[in-house]
Symmetry: C2
Subunit: 150 residues, 2 copies
């Protein structure tokens, strides 16, 4: 890390509650939670990620064929839920949400592994995204390959 | 999904900027960014996740031996950065941050794959966490196995 970065003052938010700034939105045929599969590889449709012009520079090295992690803000989740029956199956014992992938949890950040299939300016088509239409997009990260490929 | 959940009104935050509520903190010997490895499997030390009492119920099904994803808020990151030289190597071409794992990005959410090695009430010891001491913890998610194990 360059010395000038390490000697800058810490950039803490002034409050203890960090504020997210969505960088785009999901466009998807999925409109309601009960229509969505539990995970993207369980029959989710293709969707578009539509980014804000302000982050165009951050996007420029993403290409069709790339497998990436999409982080979203699950804005229709219930943040007060601490335990659930996994996969909404009442026969399964109630489980603490940190041991489940329930969208209902204190910080409902969605984590989706998808393949980019098409790009069109600020619009990125992806395969198998279980997020609902309108869901805010927070971040894109490459999946990590072997250490020597990083 | 139970019908009563699907018919509840959406729980949007009132603003367009969702607010995170950290559920704990990292305790680590890593004090400065220049001391931290780029990824947890590149020589990061063991660390403790120390949770707030309010989320005890969400934690109760996590056990030593579990491999989990820890989501953190990288509070010393620079949110204005949209492109970087990967791994701070000036010989590598500048790359949009969404194609890198740089901590500097619009929403600096850290994603760490770790193993829980010990639990002590609200304290969870984990192996190979590259987050700095004091980093807010946002969420824990299980890694996803095969579809039929979910």
């Amino acid at each position: 890390m360059p010395e000038n970065q390490s000697t800058q003052p810490d950039r803490h938010d002034q409050s203890n509650q960090p504020v997210l700034r969505p960088v785009g939105r999901v466009e998807s045929p999925l409109q309601r939670r009960q229509d969505a599969p539990k995970q993207g590889d369980e029959g989710a449709p293709d969707a578009w990620l539509v980014f804000d012009p302000g982050v165009e520079r951050a996007l420029r090295d993403l290409r069709p064929g790339d497998e990436v992690l999409v982080l979203t803000w699950l804005d229709r989740a219930d943040r007060t839920v601490l335990a659930v029956h996994p996969r909404a199956d009442a026969d399964r014992p109630e489980t603490g949400v940190f041991a489940t992938r329930s969208p209902d949890r204190p910080n409902p950040i969605g984590l989706h592994r998808v393949e980019i299939t098409e790009t069109d300016g600020l619009r990125f088509r992806v395969r198998n995204l279980e997020a609902l239409d309108g869901t805010p997009v927070l971040d894109i990260k490459p999946t990590l390959g072997a250490v020597d490929e990083r």
